[in-house]
Symmetry: C2
Subunit: 311 residues, 2 copies
Amino acid sequence: MSHPAAPTNLNKLKYFQFDKVINEDPLTHSLTLLGTFPSPDEVQDRVTAIVRVEKTALDAGTAEHLFAADGLVRRVALEESTDIYTWLFGWLGEERERDIKINIVCPATEVHICKYTRQNIVMVRETPDLYGSIVKPYITAFPKSRTQWVENILLGLSEQDKILFSSPDFVILPDMKWDLKTISSLYLVALVQDRGIRSLRDLRKQHIPLLKAIRSEGERVVEEKWALGKGAVRMYIHYQPSYYHFHVHIVNANQVGMVGMAVGQAHLLDNVISLLEIESENGPATFERIVLTYGLGDQHGLFEAMQAASA
Amino acid sequence: MSHPAAPTNLNKLKYFQFDKVINEDPLTHSLTLLGTFPSPDEVQDRVTAIVRVEKTALDAGTAEHLFAADGLVRRVALEESTDIYTWLFGWLGEERERDIKINIVCPATEVHICKYTRQNIVMVRETPDLYGSIVKPYITAFPKSRTQWVENILLGLSEQDKILFSSPDFVILPDMKWDLKTISSLYLVALVQDRGIRSLRDLRKQHIPLLKAIRSEGERVVEEKWALGKGAVRMYIHYQPSYYHFHVHIVNANQVGMVGMAVGQAHLLDNVISLLEIESENGPATFERIVLTYGLGDQHGLFEAMQAASA
């Protein structure tokens, strides 16, 4: 049964007295409001209420008719169009706030289609043996052209105006995905100069000073440049990474719904440092011996070999 | 400059020939379509295009006027109302698909308000010393009433019809957050009988058989009951957990945007097993010595003490 104060129709909802926004999530397009409704009895004046409003999902069943003559989209406004990329906003009716963002890639190649297509993710267990027989050869054969952009940054040939910190060991600069403005989605990346570290698997006790320097300079940069205090960023390492030149992701700690941040895909820099620190002085290396388990999309270059080996 | 095939207005968009939906994300309310636009030249007939459509975010600036007489919401339909919880759908205009979901808690207590209010997350580093001086006493003082529901399940007093697997060591059942229907968001939990394991910090080499049994029974259950193959679930342990009775989360591997899954909040069961396996036979325990770094919301019971200690 419904509580007598529950606002079950629009007439009752109209008596909502807004107090403040207590949460706002651009990822899920939701707003949470705090306020009051009139009391159903005379004991108290108003009743405190939380109202959470979220946009509905887009129905895949309507996909075919979105842009048709009798389709859902009634009006669009061009935001930008450069080369093959076009951004627009769309309205599902007149005289109202815009309803949708539209991103278009046209013409689209097979690579674009693969990138935008939902992949089925399967967890695979990479033992040291499978690393040696499948993953290491894959990394060695990884086309040099795919990390040319990293080389260009490290050699001082490109994006030098963006660099936030530089030492003989590594540079820190904004990640391409960040808009450089929205602090809540702050995203930096640290790229190391040492080409010998291809991935997490190559980290040894000797790398502790490098990893600690990335940690302290990362914290210093976000404090000096964006006044973010201690503990304001989450730093992590991808495995598998999207390119095999060692790098660390530096992301606002409040940004927790990101895909690349999921356990099994990401390893916290702090925990990696701690594991190396407790490693015995002359014993075998932790990242040489550990089984690393992670999700692989079915379009990933390692998918078939790793799945066959796990079966 | 824009590519000649780029559809920069609604007139051009209307010529989109829909092929199929290549991605659909209910979390971000987006749809990605594959199709074609007419070619601008005579070399080819049609040009392949990807069109990604996403709902716009709700503007916090409009929050005050959502339900007012001249507000954005023109119509609502009651979905359900039980006790203090009310669910409705809302329309921002007539003759169209519903635009928003509305969840209301009324009357709302301080506990509800705290739960729905955005918390500022700060990363803290828990050394073994801080575990001993701050966290362990907090766990010991944790009210027994908060885990009574776990005891009731383990003692066979409640939710027995939901249990998917039971042994003298642990049970597996659906998590409260799962709707028991949507396979893509499958969410189970394994609760262990051993009350001595309060958290990740208590795991030792001797627990390897228990952890491996959870892993294999978890995989067996999702295969037998939902025909999910090998590697279809991601299993992880929270630290800090929301209650200090050892449990493992078992979630569809394709579900990657969940908050509780973020690195620094979650530890992959597989990696925990592997770390215990490479631990030396009679040496000190890894989870006794490691520094555990995680994000704490500013309303968490450990927040003030841990932040003061990290300063």
